[in-house]
């Protein structure tokens, strides 16, 4: 057992103890020590010390919400410090402790001049209102106290308002002066007595209540009622119970409204979607059937388990609505695969409706939505959805463009072309479709068609720079060909057709070609002028030199012959950043002539290498240059550029990738083990540096490597299972990958997918193995394989000539 400490006996010891207790803010102990000291001797400094300790302890216990104790301690303090007259803190504790009589005593002995703080002014106002409830509180106050002076008049005015004696209210409240603590009650009464006659004036009067008045928040709520807005639940429940009761009576609420408010409070306190849903459902008659139905239907997306209650209240949901809600719910969970499946179910439900009730536009919109959800993860589903949408609503221009873009992405140019033609047939003057058609024609080298489309485009949109540039490039390309074939006149004709498309003479290549043709016609003066013009338009420097080399090579002319006709780049020239960035555009537009482009760059190699070293190029600039060389398969230049970039930016991943890409000439299969290791490290660095751009490029390159290895693997197989020796190797690899995934799929998911592919099968009692077999069949069908033929034992065909399985 812990022994009790020996009592402190000496004064010195007690004084030390009191000092230490004060330093530690142990005011309760300090009070004890001071009392002990004062028992020995009544020294004034100890009395003052005790008073101070009482005050500090009072503040301490008030901070813990012990207001009664705080009041007692403060009073002890006041007894020892008679100079203490009034304190906001003490008045506040009296209020909180509900000791209104003591508060009245305090106000009685406190001169009104001491109550000028915000709290003091508000205390006077609060006490005057309390006194309206309880007259006895006025007893300690002198007759001339402002609270007492106008008390009876204020009370009289309130009685007159409640009794509806509006005729005398004005006369009564006129007796309350504007310095009285009842002045805001005066304004309030005046406003309320006007409500029935003149709502606007009543509302304006309420605005005149003092901003710092205790009545102001209540006046604000009253104003909202007068403006016929109804109480905002979150604010209403912030009011005191008696204020709420006033509003209920003022607004003449019946049982239904009061019950609604009671339930709304549950939501305000919990913020639970379930409670909100149930409140709206339960009070639908008061809230309005249509608005409640809309609310609950929307709420089901976040609260699907409310479906049963919803159906009890509003009737059965249609199959379409049910699937739509589940689809939207899946979207909110970011589960896009389920969302797509549910949307499919929803369109199926719409399609099952009788013809007169079908709404093809809604169906089309849902198919488009499916395409939006699936175009990234599953473009094949997206194209099917868009095709269905166009069958239902063929007037949606944007869908044609999206469909064409998607078919191009999944490398199905035939289908892309087919839809482009369909789109153009329907919208022959649509700029976007025409531009896509022009690009597509150009890609498949149908230049005549592309040129026709470009001309159509220019007719509709004369400032379309894309079409204009395309036509100029087409004429330039033809002119080069004609020149090389010795048909100089035809070449000139091509350039003459190109010239009106460049009325402001901004195309350097065109001027240079015109110059070279003039040279061929031995008009040296004209040739020199045009070549100088081309050089100037190209901006001089490395771009002009590149272009002059390239155009000369494109006409199969020796560079030495034309060199004397135009300015020549100084051997010591170092290209600035702007020149090098300008070169990117020229390289991109010359990519169709790989060999000549390579020769033109070779001539510039020493200047370029010097320039990479000295030009002020950022990491991004190097990236863009490298990317341009990579795009146009200029691996020598790419190697030079990547090497310099890696010297300049040691920790960057991009130069490593481009250097490796150059060394294996863009073919992943040629990667050496060392290069592969370098790329892995660069990928890791790219991920750590959050350089997503280069990370994706490296990952794609690795994927290319994997695919090439897959092909080698399949080619190396002695005999393929499922009789699939004739199968496309990629399909084979894809099938094997998907087969490995099947055992990981849950039973429920398998049943769902199979029912989707083949509705009506009795799947519930089916063993897992059979479900997996069916999943395999679905997978094969998705890949366009004939399961019946490949696995006759598993899926016997139904008769001669029938291609597929028991499914069909």
């Amino acid at each position: 057992m812990k022994s009790k400490p020996a009592p402190i006996t000496s004064l010195d010891q007690l004084e030390t103890s009191v000092r230490m207790a004060l330093e530690r803010h142990q005011f309760k102990e300090a009070i004890g020590f001071y009392k002990d000291l004062l028992k020995r001797e009544r020294r004034p400094e100890w009395e003052q010390g005790l008073a101070g300790a009482y005050r500090e302890r009072a503040l301490q216990v008030a901070g813990k919400g012990m207001f009664q104790e705080a009041v007692v301690l403060w009073e002890n303090h006041a007894k020892l410090s008679p100079q203490t007259v009034y304190s906001d803190a003490y008045a506040g504790w009296l209020l909180r402790a509900g000791q209104f009589n003591k508060l009245a005593d305090l106000l009685a002995k406190t001169p009104v001049e001491l109550l000028q703080s915000l709290f003091g002014r508000r205390l006077l106002e609060a006490f005057s209102l309390l006194a309206l409830q309880n007259d006895k509180l006025l007893l300690p106050l002198p007759a001339e106290h402002p609270i007492v002076k106008h008390h009876a008049i204020a009370r009289q005015a309130i009685n007159a308002y409640a009794a509806g004696n509006d005729g005398i209210i004005d006369e009564i409240i006129r007796q309350i002066p504007s310095r009285s603590p009842y002045r805001n009650v005066r304004t309030l009464l005046k406003a309320l007595s006007l409500v029935e006659k003149d709502r606007a004036s009543a509302s304006q009067l309420l605005e005149k209540i003092d901003e710092d008045s205790l009545c102001e928040p209540f006046a604000l709520v009253l104003r909202q009622q007068i403006d016929l807005l109804g109480p905002k639940p979150s604010i209403f429940f912030g009011l005191t119970p008696k204020q709420q009761s006033f509003i209920n009576k003022f607004n003449a609420y019946g049982k239904a409204q009061l019950n609604l408010l009671k339930d709304a409070k549950k939501f305000i306190n919990s913020q639970s979607q379930k409670i909100a849903f149930e409140t709206v459902l339960d009070h639908r008659t008061l809230l309005g059937e249509a608005a409640s139905r809309r609310y609950c239907l929307a709420a089901l997306v976040e609260y699907p388990s409310g479906t049963v209650s919803y159906e009890r209240g509003f009737g059965k949901l249609s199959e379409f609505d049910r699937q739509r809600i589940l689809a939207l719910n899946a979207e909110t969970q970011r589960d896009y695969y389920t969302a797509v499946d549910r949307w499919h179910e929803a369109t199926d439900a719409l399609a099952r409706r009788p013809a007169q009730k079908r709404d093809p536009l809604d169906e089309a919109l849902i198919h488009r939505h499916i395409a939006d959800l699936s175009h990234v993860p599953e473009p094949e589903i997206a194209v099917k959805a868009l095709e269905k949408s166009l069958a239902l609503d063929p007037d949606d221009k944007a869908s044609y463009s999206s469909l064409v873009r998607l078919y191009e992405e999944i490398e199905e140019p035939k289908a892309a072309q087919e839809w482009l033609e369909k789109g153009l047939k329907r919208f022959p003057r649509d700029v976007e479709l025409l531009q896509s058609a022009m690009n597509a024609a150009s890609r498949r080298k149908a230049f005549k068609r592309a040129a026709t489309l470009a001309r159509n485009l220019l007719e509709i949109d004369p400032i379309n720079t894309h079409a204009r540039q395309f036509l100029i490039d087409a004429h330039i390309g033809h002119a080069r060909k004609q020149f090389r074939a010795g048909r100089i006149d035809l070449a000139r004709q091509e350039l003459e057709q190109a010239r009106p498309l460049d009325p402001h003479r901004r195309n350097a290549a065109l001027s240079m070609l015109e110059g070279l043709l003039a040279h061929a016609a031995q008009d040296e003066e004209c040739a020199a002028g045009l070549l100088a013009e081309g050089w100037r338009i190209a901006g001089g420097g490395i771009c002009a030199q590149f272009l002059s080399n390239f155009e000369t090579l494109c006409l199969d002319l020796p560079l030495s012959k034309t060199a004397r006709l135009m300015p020549v780049l100084d051997k010591n020239h170092v290209a600035k950043r702007q020149e090098l960035l300008g070169l990117i555009k020229l390289i991109d537009s010359s990519a169709g002539e790989k060999k000549r482009l390579s020769d033109a760059l070779e001539k510039l190699r020493p200047t370029l290498k010097k320039s990479y070293k000295q030009a002020e190029l950022s990491e991004d600039d190097f990236f863009n240059l490298c990317q341009s060389f990579a795009r146009s398969a200029q691996y020598v230049s790419l190697g030079d550029c990547a090497l310099e970039a890696s010297k300049r930016f040691h920790s960057a991943a991009a130069p490593v990738y481009f250097a490796v890409f150059a060394s294996c000439k863009g073919v992943a299969k040629r990667l050496s083990p060392m290069d592969e290791r370098h790329l892995e490290l660069a990928l890791d660095r790219a991920h750590r540096g959050k350089d997503h751009r280069i990370a994706v490029m490296i990952e794609n390159f690795f994927q290319q490597l994997d695919e090439s290895l897959d092909e080698d693997f399949v080619e190396g197989l002695p005999h393929l299972p499922f009789g699939g020796n004739d199968m496309d190797p990629r399909t084979m690899v894809e099938l094997m990958k998907r087969m490995l995934e099947i055992p990981k799929i849950s039973r429920e998911e398998m049943i769902r997918r199979i029912s989707r592919a083949q509705p009506g099968l009795p799947l519930k009692g089916m063993p897992d193995d059979s479900l997996m077999d069916m999943m395999l069949l679905i997978t094969m069908e998705e890949l366009g394989l004939d399961a019946g033929e490949m696995m006759p034992n598993l899926f016997p065909t139904q008769g001669p000539g029938k291609k597929s399985s028991k499914f069909r």
Partner: protein
């Protein structure tokens, strides 16, 4: 969250014309140079339900609920006013006053 119909203050079965009219009236009330944020909300709401196709899209793919509080508040709009008795009036004032006073810093 308010629905575009609530923002533009139009019925859910409103057609192109009345939606455009409501939009223009709201823009006059909240011009972009005076209240850019409100204007932006109004503009987005209009774009969401401007045409029949957009309204269908909104109906099919959006699930913003009408605001719970707004819904409750609309049905609690007072139709007529009554005069509470003097004690209810004084009680509301006194209780509210103490509540407010205790929030006052001292």
């Amino acid at each position: 969250m308010q629905t575009p119909y609530e923002i533009l203050d139009v019925a859910e079965d409103a057609g192109d014309e009345s939606i455009k009219k409501a939009y223009l009236s709201k823009v006059r009330e909240y011009p972009p140079e005076k209240n850019a944020e409100a204007f932006q909300r109004i503009r987005i709401a209009f774009e969401q339900i401007q045409t029949d196709k957009q309204r269908r899209k909104y109906r099919l793919f959006h699930h913003e609920k009408p605001e719970f509080e707004a819904l409750i508040r609309r049905s609690l709009r007072p139709e007529a006013f009554q005069r509470p008795d003097a004690e209810t009036f004084i009680g509301a004032l006194a209780e509210g006053a103490i509540d407010e006073l205790l929030k006052t810093p001292h």
